[in-house]
Symmetry: C2
Subunit: 261 residues, 2 copies
């Protein structure tokens, strides 16, 4: 039994009839984030590395820009609590942080119709190019990388890659969380992402694209499909968006020059 | 070209090389809900029947219990706005509604460890039984029901069923939204769900289970897998949870007596 997998009693129905057996299911926990002593938000997630997730969540919301803004991080794995204390020089006043977070955690702030509507976002300036061969190889590795997926089929993955290899691999029951974890770890470990790219297992909506734009990653490869708004944002924000990677086939929806032969 | 599908320019890479072509992608829009004249929340969704989604969203959050509480609904499809005016006798004071919605739209209020922690929820009392044969037949029909999925692969579905047939079918780019749309329409049209069941295309987390519990649906069938907390809630709330339906096989995670041979 893998860690973070739970065995549960099930009744299995097959052509041969009905039998009681066991099945492996993925664990889900609530994570509550406290910011400067104040309860901010609770999200449903996977139970590991809650600090990466909490910090990535706040970074994706634009509330933390760099590690220097974080004064202290305390993780209580048992209770599912991460407490963050921001340095006084954090830039945003506390009330503003709460106001903005409630706004965007509820899905607001994304009522855009062009990149100009997205506060503070400018097109990504990165000359990164990656060959399609490297992408196919790394996606294949990415898909083999998750024993939890093979065991439970209940998990999403994300990976930050150079053209040579997967540098950071993350998993979570939520596809948004899997991406937030990558950015959280990058922030904590001062990883520069401007010449790296991201692989995701899930579908790409505008919300995921905005996370990349805020994080400054110039290329996103998804196993799945994007929405029209995700494509529009990618075009406007200078991000290369590729999807439906299967074997040695893929579709490129924007700025295809970054993916070379 | 189907409605709600957009044609986009893509570069397709195959073993034969690189070519510029067209692809069909699903549309995404923001929906902003105003409650009694006050802007409440914006969610990313599919562009149709925004009234069903808005009302289902509020119902799933426990903010509307019945149609009589709704005084007026105005839908502006072009701007993606639904305005709801609740009757003064709506029960909850406006401030309380806003407080609770912000809480749960952000994923809060789900820090439970047992059913007792979930405010106001009692186990579902329904003697509904459905044969596995009827479930297999309806899931097959459910999976054939979406031209949008076949065209774009970017959509989730949900269906409210009797043991005879699919009564209400809904689709949305978000799996939560697809379920909310069902409950929104049921509320608007006074559909009693106590002896009906729901089919969903997506994975089942505790959040989806809570929607069923609040809506009063006793049986959930998913094409995909549940998390451990979704199973725990289903056990505690008297809901039958079945998953991984493939052909004539399925797993039943709780209260299997409702699914007969």
């Amino acid at each position: 039994m893998l860690k973070y997998v739970e065995e549960t009693n099930v009744v299995r129905i097959t052509e041969d009839g009905r039998e009681t057996t066991k099945a492996s299911v993925i664990q889900e926990v609530p994570l509550t984030i406290f910011l400067n002593g104040r309860e901010l938000v609770t999200i449903i997630c996977s139970p590991w590395q809650l600090d990466h997730l909490a910090i990535g969540f706040l970074a994706a919301e634009g509330l933390i820009k760099g590690r220097s803004e974080i004064k202290k991080v305390t993780v209580d794995d048992t209770r599912g609590v991460v407490r963050l204390k921001l340095a006084a020089s954090g830039g945003l006043a506390e009330e503003l942080i709460f106001k903005r977070l409630i706004t965007s955690a509820c899905g607001k702030g994304i009522t855009f119709s062009s990149a100009a509507d997205i506060e503070g976002l400018v097109p990504i300036d990165s000359g990164l190019t990656v060959s399609s061969g490297d992408i196919f190889r790394l996606v294949k590795e990415f898909q083999k990388n998750s024993p939890l997926y093979r065991e439970t089929h209940g998990i999403h993955s994300a990976a930050l890659c150079s053209s040579e290899k997967i540098l950071i691999f993350s998993e979570d029951i939520g596809r948004h969380n899997a991406v937030d974890r990558i950015f959280g770890r990058c922030l904590l470990e001062d990883v520069a992402v401007k010449n790296l790219f991201l692989i995701c297992s899930g579908r790409i909506s505008s919300e995921i694209l905005l996370k990349l734009a805020k994080g400054g990653v110039p290329l996103l490869v998804s196993i799945s499909v994007p929405t029209n708004q995700a494509i529009r944002l990618a075009v406007n924000l200078g991000i290369t968006l590729a999807g439906i990677v299967r074997g040695r086939r893929m579709m490129i929806y924007s700025h295809d020059w970054r993916i070379t032969a």
